[in-house]
């Protein structure tokens, strides 16, 4: 049996809200590709010093820099949306019998991200 299927091409281009949604979803391509870049680095590391340094050199290419710059922006946007929906994606949190306010959950998530990223930055440059 053939049934009518409503066409849905381009639906997300008609409303800015959906456009932002699609932009957020696009971050998944970059998160996946970034994981593969790291996996390639691990593979080259296992091959030895020369191979690893060739990987480092590839990272310095304009194409790689452009990829990482776009990935950085999209993952930042992913983080922004991820933290902002956290009060709705996680179970109710109660402290002392009272529900933790949404704003507090979002603020703690942003704070954790800043602290962890800062710690990572310091660890890489100081250790």
């Amino acid at each position: 049996m053939k049934t009518y299927t409503r066409p849905m091409a381009g639906w997300w281009r008609r409303n800015p809200y959906y456009l932002w949604y699609m932009l957020r979803e696009a971050s998944c391509l970059f998160v996946t590709a970034y994981a593969l870049v790291l996996l390639a680095g691990l593979f080259r590391l296992a091959q030895g010093k020369q191979a690893y340094e060739a990987w480092l050199q590839a990272l310095a290419s304009p194409l790689s820099l452009a990829f990482h710059a776009v990935a950085l922006v999209l993952v930042l946007y992913h983080a922004w949306t991820w933290f902002r929906v956290m009060p709705r994606t996680m179970p109710f949190l109660r402290i002392g019998g009272r529900r933790v306010p949404d704003g507090f959950i979002v603020a703690s998530a942003f704070a954790s991200s800043i602290v962890l990223s800062g710690a990572l930055f310091i660890a890489v440059w100081q250790l």
């Binding site: 480092l56 990482h68 983080a79 991820w82 930055f121």
Partner: protein, 113 residues
């Protein structure tokens, strides 16, 4: 009464969630360090090898690669639906299988270091 078949959704959603959380917490900084700044000392062959040979270093590398993959493929899989592509168990196995394969390769490489 026939036993209800357990859904595998919670497993993949948890992996998606864990990857999304990790990416949100440290993703931007990781991308900045390994992709844009590439500090020559910290990312030298010797330093990275020492890090990747340490148990905790192995765990950190595996977590980032594996959870980012599971997060990415899960979102891609659901994006197909947004584009009007009807997904079934075959595509689901393909997408998640990709993340499983990536995880196994990473684990194999880390063990061999």
């Amino acid at each position: 009464m026939a036993a209800l078949k357990r859904s595998n959704k919670p497993v993949f959603w948890s992996l998606f969630g864990a990857g999304g959380m990790l990416a949100a917490l440290i993703g931007p900084m990781l991308i900045f360090i390994t992709g844009i700044a590439v500090p020559p000392q910290a990312m030298s062959y010797e330093r990275v090898l020492v890090f990747a040979r340490h148990g905790l270093g192995k765990l950190a590398i595996l977590m980032v690669i594996s959870l980012f993959l599971f997060h990415g493929v899960h979102r891609m899989y659901h994006c197909l639906h947004d584009f009007g592509i009807h997904v079934g168990p075959g595509l689901k196995a393909l997408f998640h299988g990709f993340a499983v394969a990536g995880t196994l390769v990473a684990a194999y490489l880390l063990i061999g270091l």
